[in-house]
């Protein structure tokens, strides 16, 4: 029997063990192909506005994925070889030389990779239309997507994967050649010893992470770039030490607390965890860092989307706005809209004063209330009641399109009169058609100001299908004079919002790939535990542990394995996103909570799956 046949035989036998890895790999290949093929899609290149974004984000996401794949593939192939050291030892006993054994086992990994590459490419091309349709939808592009197979993308995917797989193959090959027979036979038998605890490192890890947080939150001290770099480095070191030493300290403490330990199955789960920390802390830390990356990047893109969407509401509350009080112009606009195939959903008119010296516009309280009600603004009752009766005070509505709250003024001058600013708010009012901050004054005060300042009339119209207003915009622009300041959904769109749509979509996709891979890493690790724990659970069964108790102990043990990196990862990412929120001066609690919730759900599914598999392994008598 030649070695290739031997490999094939092994491969067939182990395919079930590889199931999870295969799925993660196939998914990653399919995703990678789609990321790349985006760049070569002729339909997307035709659309001038977005082709640059598509090109840029395709490039970025594929580079991120390459880095990630290197990590993932190396980790898994290393895992597989470690897993089968004993098997390798048996071959060695039978007198097969190391080179041949190394070839057999490394080839198996390569074969696995090539198989997932082929299946992944097939699925990737199959689903590429769906992927691009979703992308177009996310970017609000109105286009029909044709089925398209990109030769360049296929070639690029194959080359990238083959290179990574080949490196993994070489690495596995070399690592097997270098092992001694005696080590191979003893790997599984080696008696486990209780790891020593390094208290200094444990405490240092907390200090390092604290320092990293401090640097991140006070990023202005070092400058953003430097702060970012130091934070990442410190967080990674701190996380490794945290799991390596601090966690040992905690678990050791729990074990010495007999009141806690001698309560049902705690004694089984926590004794196991304590012994395994030394082997596992690198995985814990790697998973915690991956989770942080995952939640932070997804949190960032969804925050960005949320932020832009919120801003969009403020910038473009109407489909069409213009400023005019001339009856013939207003009638002309209405006529054009009537002749278009749009339905009018809301028509808003309001008078306001323009004060060029202060670069503000002024509106009276009752118009303000009416507009908020018409636009159905969230929490308007609360806002209005908070404003109360305005006397010598005004409410300052931020200029639409402003990214950050810069309000530092306590009072503001309008003409020769100075008003106290009661509150600054960010709500939709006129949209970017009136690109000035707006002061809300009481109706009586407005009457007084009206005598001294120029009054204008604002007209805003909301139509159905706002994204389809290109032709309408051109027609209206021909009719209206320049001073009417025409502003439409079409003029506002096709800029920031499209880009964010693409970034969000790709970010969400990367997020999925990351979760998948993170899940499989823990899954592998726990599975290898289960093989070693089998004997232990058999002893427990003999001395009268019920199946239910065994399941409970497993749930706790596996649960802690999932939970510990999750908690650390979530804390890290909350800090990261709070810095982002600080930068944008916008509360990102909702998108952050959302991304954490999504992550926990998917991650929880992995937990359930892993736990079940673990129970199966230890319950099947070998």
């Amino acid at each position: 029997m030649n070695s290739f046949k031997l490999t094939l035989m092994n491969f067939r036998r182990n395919i079930r063990t590889y199931g999870m890895y295969l799925m993660a790999m196939i998914f990653s290949v399919a995703t990678y192909y789609n990321f790349v093929s985006m760049r070569y899609n002729p339909q997307f290149s035709e659309v001038k506005d977005v082709s640059n974004y598509v090109y840029g984000s395709s490039l970025t996401t594929s580079i991120v994925m390459i880095w990630f794949l290197i990590f993932f593939i190396m980790y898994s192939s290393d895992f597989f070889i470690k897993q089968r050291k004993r098997e390798i030892g048996i071959y060695a006993f039978m007198g097969i030389d190391n080179y041949k054994i190394a070839f057999i086992f490394a080839l198996e990994g390569l074969l696995l990779g090539i198989m997932s590459l082929i299946i992944g490419l097939l699925l990737g091309t199959l689903f590429s239309k769906l992927f691009l349709m979703l992308l177009a939808k996310a970017a609000l592009l109105n286009m029909r997507i044709d089925f398209f197979i990109s030769k360049e993308a296929i070639v690029e995917t194959i080359i990238v994967y083959l290179i990574i797989l080949f490196i993994a193959f070489l690495k596995g090959y070399l690592s097997i050649i270098r092992t001694n027979l005696i080590d191979l036979m003893n790997t599984l038998k080696k008696a486990e010893e209780l790891p020593k605890v390094n208290y200094l490192k444990g405490l240092a890890s907390l200090i390092i992470i604290g320092l990293a947080y401090y640097i991140a939150v006070n990023y202005h001290i070092l400058g953003f770039g430097r702060a970012f770099m130091w934070t990442v480095i410190l967080v990674i070191i701190g996380t490794y030490w945290l799991f390596g030493s601090f966690l040992s300290m905690i678990i050791r403490y729990l074990i010495s607390r007999k009141r806690f330990l001698y309560r049902g199955t705690n004694i089984i789960s926590f004794s196991n965890i304590a012994f395994r920390i030394k082997d596992n802390y690198r995985t814990f830390a790697a998973v915690a860092v991956l989770i942080t990356t995952c939640i932070t990047s997804f949190g960032t893109v969804s925050s960005l989307k949320y932020f832009v969407a919120e801003n969009h509401k403020i910038e473009v509350p109407y489909t069409v706005t213009y400023i005019s009080d001339r009856q013939e112009e207003i009638e002309r606009v209405d006529e054009i809209i009537e002749n278009s195939n749009h339905k009018v959903e809301l028509r808003e008119t309001a008078n306001f004063l323009f004060v060029p010296e202060s670069e503000v516009v002024v509106v009276n309280l009752s118009s303000f209330k009416r507009i908020l009600t018409d636009l159905n603004v969230k929490d308007r009752e609360k806002l209005i009641s908070k404003m109360g009766q305005l006397r010598e005070e005004v409410v300052y509505v931020e200029r639409p399109g402003i990214l950050m709250n810069m309000l530092e003024k306590k009072d503001i001058k309008v003409g020769d009169k100075t008003y106290k600013i009661k509150a600054g708010v960010k709500v939709p009012l006129f949209g970017s058609g009136v690109p000035f901050p707006c002061l809300v004054v009481s109706d009586e005060e407005y009457e007084g100001l009206r005598l001294k300042h120029e009054e204008k009339q604002f007209n805003g119209i909301i139509l159905d299908r706002p994204e389809d207003t290109e032709d309408l915009t051109y027609k209206l622009a021909q009719e209206l004079p320049g001073e009417a300041i025409l502003y439409t959904y079409f003029i506002a769109g096709a800029t920031m919002y499209d880009l964010v749509g693409i970034v969000y979509f790709l970010g969400a996709f990367l997020f999925l790939v990351f979760i998948f891979a993170t899940g499989s890493i823990i899954y592998f690790k726990i599975l290898s535990e289960s093989f070693r724990d089998k004997a232990k659970y058999e002893i427990l069964k003999k001395i009268g542990t019920t199946d239910f108790e065994i399941k409970e102990a497993v749930s706790k043990q596996v649960g802690m394995f999932f939970l510990m990196p999750l908690i650390v990862g979530i804390v890290h990412s909350i800090v990261a996103i709070s810095v982002l929120s600080d930068l944008l001066e916008y509360s990102l609690i909702i998108p952050t909570m959302l991304s954490i919730a999504v992550f926990i759900v998917v991650y929880g599914l992995f937990y359930i799956f892993t736990r079940r598999k673990y129970v199966n392994i230890i319950e099947n008598q070998a």
């Binding site: 330990l261 001698y262 004694i267 004794s271 001395i543 009268g544 019920t546 239910f548």
Partner: protein, 254 residues
């Protein structure tokens, strides 16, 4: 005397139809309270199978096992596990201690699983560790102990629940002669001072000579019974003679 364990016409068969092999072939045993019973026999006689059935780890093909007046063949799995935990102690040849627990935790394990009051657990661990001379080893882990110490830890774990019976499956199999002797003396001490009922499987005549009564098993049947009526040394001689005669193939004469 009070009977703690009794079997009626016990059978255990392996294999499929047509190729049936009876590892246990109609065994009736009565075990009295405070006994130290040895089960001997050549390899393949069904010693371990019998022990597994008696200790509720395995189920018989037919026949009954009674603990007092409780029929354990009618018990469900979960019920059986808890019954085993509370009523039966084990000593195995390879100790079966959990490597990742300290001596103290290993001994406390059965009580901890039953959620016994912490004070009570600590008291019993304390008492048993001095009984078995393990006081200085409590904080150590199994990999730091000698074989004899490990087996004594296992013995402490076996009797911490004050079980009805302790089963010992070749407990001296992995020990050197000095540790074996120490352990056997421990078992005798358990039997005499704590009035623990012990059933020990062994093929070693020396170990068997510590028992009060011996059942000799061959081909799944009880072939002979030996009772200790004099000193251990004489009993040992009788066992040697007996086993020798078995090897000589003149068993039918006895």
């Amino acid at each position: 005397m009070e009977i703690v364990l009794e079997t009626r016409n016990l059978r255990k068969e392996y294999g499929t139809r047509g190729m049936v092999f009876a590892a246990i072939d109609g065994v009736d045993v009565k075990v009295y309270k405070g006994e130290f019973l040895g089960i001997m026999g050549p390899s393949g006689a069904g010693k371990t199978t019998l022990l597994n059935i008696l200790s509720t780890i395995d189920r018989p093909t037919s026949g009954k096992v009674y603990y007092g007046d409780k029929d354990i063949s009618t018990m469900k799995n979960r019920e059986l596990s808890i019954f085993r935990r509370n009523n039966i102690g084990f000593l195995f040849q390879d100790f079966n201690l959990l490597d990742n627990m300290s001596v103290e935790d290993n001994i406390a394990l059965p009580l901890a699983l039953s959620n016994v009051n912490i004070k009570e657990i600590k008291e019993r661990v304390e008492r048993l560790s001095s009984f078995f001379g393990l006081k200085d080893q409590l904080k150590k882990y199994p990999y730091q102990l000698s074989g004899g110490q490990k087996q004594r830890v296992a013995a402490a774990r076996a009797i911490i629940t004050s079980p009805t019976i302790v089963f010992a499956d070749e407990p001296t199999g992995a020990l050197d002669s000095k540790s074996s002797q120490e352990l056997l003396q421990c078992l005798v001490k358990m039997n005499e001072e704590l009035n623990t009922t012990i059933i020990m499987v062994t093929h070693d005549a020396f170990a068997a000579s510590y028992c009060k009564r011996i059942l000799y098993l061959k081909d799944g049947r009880i072939h002979a019974r030996l009772d200790k009526d004099s000193t251990r040394k004489e009993f040992f001689k009788r066992i040697i003679d007996f086993v020798g005669s078995m090897g000589g193939g003149v068993s039918e004469l006895l």
